[in-house]
Each structure stands twice: as C-alpha cells, then as structure tokens.
Symmetry: C2
Subunit: 304 residues, 2 copies
C-alpha cells in the first residue's frame, strides 16, 4: 500500500479501473467491507482519509471525532487497499471554500434539516474528491442512506464518469449499526441499542404484511426513550421523499441522541412484482475492530 499526501500524487498512482472509498478514518468493518469490495472489482483501490470540517455543524462533535491513523493504515493494507490518500488540510478545507455544492430536496431533509450545512458539506467534499481523483467507481455504505441517495443524484446531475456503488450496512453482534462514533457512547451503549431494536421491530412488522409508513415509524418511536429520537421516517430510497405506503424501494431512516452522541440507522424495504423483502444489513459475529483501537482524538467524556 502506498501513501499519497495530495490529490495529484494519488492521481499519479492511478492505473486501470480506479475504485474510491471516501472515509473520515477510524475504520470499522463497514469501511473495510467497502475497501474489500473495491479491491475485488477494481485495478486500484484508493481510500481517502479526511475528517471533513464542512460536514460538522457542531465544533464539539468535530473535536471528539475519533482518530487513529496508525491502526487505520494497518487495517486498510490488510483489506487490499492500494493507495491511502491523506490529503494536506491546506489542499482541502483549511479555509472555508466560497464554492458550495448542494442537492435540493435530497440534501435538505432529515440529516439536512437536523444538521444545518451537513449535507452540503458532504456534497462539496465528495465533489472535490471526485474532481481530484477521477474514480471509475466509488463505494458508499447504505448506513448513510441519505448520503448515498444524494451522492448518486449528484453524480447523475454533474455527469461524473463514476459509478456509485451502495454496500450493505454492517451491524455489531448486538444489532447496533457500526459507526466510528460508537466508541464514544460509553455508558449510553446499552440504551443506544434501542434504535436498532426499533428498526428491526419495524422490519418484522413489514415482513408480517404491514405497509403503513406511520406504523413502522411508530415502531421505532415506541422503542426509544423519551426525547432521544430526532426522526424516524419512511422515504423513497432514490429521492428521500416521505411516503405513506411502503411500496417500491423505501428506506426507513432514523436518528437519535444518546448523551452527547448522535447515531443514525435504517432498514430498507423493497416491494415489487417479485414480492417483498426487508434489508437489515449484515451482522458481525464477533466484537468490532473498533474496540481494539486507541481513539487518540476521542473524548470518552462526550459519551457520559
């Protein structure tokens, strides 16, 4: 695995079909599954590691975002990554850019509404990575369902010659969706399971024939302690528009707060001519590599 400190260096290492996995580091099995998928499909797999300040509307959240580059490099090499790109912040957004990219509708709702500027910050950073690295494919997890929908639309609208590949959400053995932020949950770890519990209950209702959006949203709401839920909303998977009935491809997306940590999760429902299916993601059968880490940048107090 080679290291690149700039987009130009990384471009010079490109060869054949280039797969890109954009990350903010502190890798877990979700990230690693994207890297392995890219390594199996592409000639060169590039991973960018950049904690994008534009997508943090809360400076405290940015300050405690966990960091462990040494461990990340080892995990990425083992996952088959060819080029690890850690751009100089001066090349990225050390100064706030004047140029902004936003995706109307998809970027405004849910995370966009609860985290002002967040989705635009993602769109701007992804555009910059695509512009600079010119990947043939880019891999995103379905855990960030709204991000995946937004990036897919952005690539269509702006005509990047990049195929966006959505990959399965990965859950810890107890159901909690994998997130680098899980290491910050501390004493709230057990309480935070309520979010996945609610979504998995919603998936059970769906498989029992429930097709009302309000009913499955209610299952999530009921599973959570008072005040914890930001939203639980059934939306079209492509446009993230709210639906009343579970038809076509629908994401039931939810976000909740436990202590100072905010987590998101979703389940995906497909109803088409061939029948109905719920996608809950995949489960780990052992503790995540997250818990081997030394979160140098993590402030565990944030989770208490």
């Amino acid at each position: 695995m080679k290291l690149a400190g700039s987009m130009a260096e990384a471009r010079a290492m490109a060869q054949g079909r280039v797969g890109l996995v954009p990350t903010m580091g502190f890798f877990h099995e979700g990230h690693l599954s994207l890297m392995e998928r890219s390594a199996s499909e592409c000639d060169r797999t590039m991973v960018t590691l950049y904690v994008n300040p534009l997508q943090f509307e809360d400076p405290a959240d940015l300050a405690r975002y966990p960091v462990d580059h040494e461990r990340d490099l080892e995990l990425a090499a083992a996952a088959g990554v060819d080029v690890m790109v850690i751009p100089d912040p001066a090349e990225m957004f050390l100064e706030a850019p004047l140029t902004g990219v936003s995706v109307a509708g998809i970027g405004d709702r849910l995370e966009g509404a609860y985290r002002p500027g967040h989705m635009d910050g993602v769109a701007t950073a992804v555009t910059k990575l695509f512009a600079g690295l010119q990947p043939d494919r880019a891999y995103f997890g379905r855990k960030d369902a709204q991000q995946l929908a937004m990036v897919s639309r952005l690539v269509h609208d702006l005509g990047f010659p990049t195929e966006v590949v959505g990959c399965p959400l990965v859950r810890e053995a107890d159901g909690l969706a994998l997130s680098s932020r899980n290491v910050l949950l501390g004493a709230y770890r057990e309480e935070a399971r309520a979010l996945s519990r609610g979504l998995l209950e919603a998936a059970r209702l769906f498989e029992d024939g429930e097709r009302s959006a309000a009913a499955v949203e209610g299952a999530v709401r009921n599973a959570l302690p008072p005040g914890a839920l930001d939203y639980a909303e059934a939306c079209t998977a492509a446009a993230m528009e709210p639906v009343d009935r579970l038809e076509g491809e629908v994401v039931l997306a939810a976000a909740a707060r436990f202590g100072a940590v905010r987590i998101i999760d979703n389940v995906r429902f497909t109803v088409d001519g061939r029948g109905a299916a719920a996608d809950r993601g995949v489960w780990l059968d052992r503790p995540s590599v997250l818990y081997d880490a030394d979160p140098a940048g993590a402030d565990p107090a944030g989770g208490r």
Copy 2:
C-alpha cells in the same frame, strides 16, 4: 475534426494534454482565439457547444440566442479544433438538475445580482463539463471577467486538476466588445458603442493618472444614454470585490441594455511595482465573421 455527441464519446477521443473551450456556439473571433490558443498549447482541443438553459434567467433571451451549427463546425475546424462536443440535451439539463454549484461572493454580485440564477447556472454547467471531460486546461475570455474569476475560484475550491487560462477580450473595429448577441443589436448597433466608448475613456483617464474608482465609473456612466446602464463598477479581478482605488489588478466591469439586448464589457487596470497598465483587449481590423452568419435561431426583432 471529430464530432462527439456525449461526454463519454469525447473522453474516448482524449489523448495527451486536453484543452477545453466551453462555448454556447455562434462563434466569433473571441471564441476562435481561445480555440487557436488551446490548439497551440494542447495535444487535443475540445470545444463544447451547448446553449446552457440554466444560465438564462429570461426565456426570451434563450429563445433568440443565435444558432448556426454548420458555420460553427467550419470555423472550429479551421481554428485547429480536434473534437467538437455537441452533447445530447438529455445528458445535460433537459430536466433541471437538483444539484447546484455556487460560488459565494464572486457569483452573487454584478451579473449575479442583475441576472438571478445566471452565475450559479454557469458554475453548475462548467462543473459538469469539467467533471465529464477532465480537461488539463480550460480557456475563457476576459470579456466575461466575472465568469473567469468565478471559474478560477471554483477550480481552486473543488480541486479540479484543470488550469484555467484567461484570454484577451476581442473588440470589433469600432470598439464594441465581440459577443454573439451583437448580431441582435439591429438598429441599436450605433447606440451600443457608447459602452465601449465609456470604458475606453475610463482607460484614458487611468493612463493620465486617475486612481479613483468613482471617477472611472463616472466616465462610463456619462457615456451612456439615460437608463441604459445596469452597472459600471471597479472590482478586484480575482474576487470581484468593489474597490475605491485602482490598485493591484482591477476590472472595471459594465453592463448596459440597448433595446432588448443586454451587453457587457470591461477594461482591466494593473498597478504594481513595475508601473501601471490598462488592458483594453485586442481589436479586429475587419468585420467580424459574426456578420457572415445566418442566425437561424436569431430573432432580429429583439434588437429593434
């Protein structure tokens, strides 16, 4: 010269250093000078011909924008263009995109203020052309000074590996800045000369030692018939921020309306350690090729 009907086709024709000249067609010597410059500096010169609906805030202006593809192809081939890209509207903005690109500050003022949505429409289209064609260099005329400043900043902020090259403004023999819209001026042709006359008078004042922005702006205002001027404003060339004194690199940018046609023009002042210089652009010594054209899409009534 080859024709490409899509970005993918054009990309497949790229080789070595690629120079891009984005245009809306109906070529004049300004366009041709960009193509010739690219042909002299790059291995492959690509010209895109696309009348971008996103940058027309006025449907009537879009409807009468002159079109003559046959003539454009002949002129481009003679200028050394390798690939003429006429994208299928369905690949561009037949449907309005949800994704928008905007450059705060530079894109909001002057043209951005007088033509709501115009500058964002330019930014979004240029981003799409750069994303799809991945040029090494892109050539823009200094006639659209604000566009040049905005695109330069956009490329910096979004990290496109593209060098933006600003090229001289070209004037007709009587001083009028070349624009495809000049063929629409009709009976207003003589009156429209007032805009360049005012700017050239401002350049004379500058060369006589005048350094007050208000004074050179006043020279433009005084040259124009009542009500014709939209703005005459001295701005920094890089950020298009208004200045009081002519120092560093300054653009005196102006826009005016004659009949149904709106034209823009500018002169550029440089004051640095080596002295002071006014850049008025270059002059044609014969009638423009514009007037050989058959403006099939042009509605000359718009100019009366």
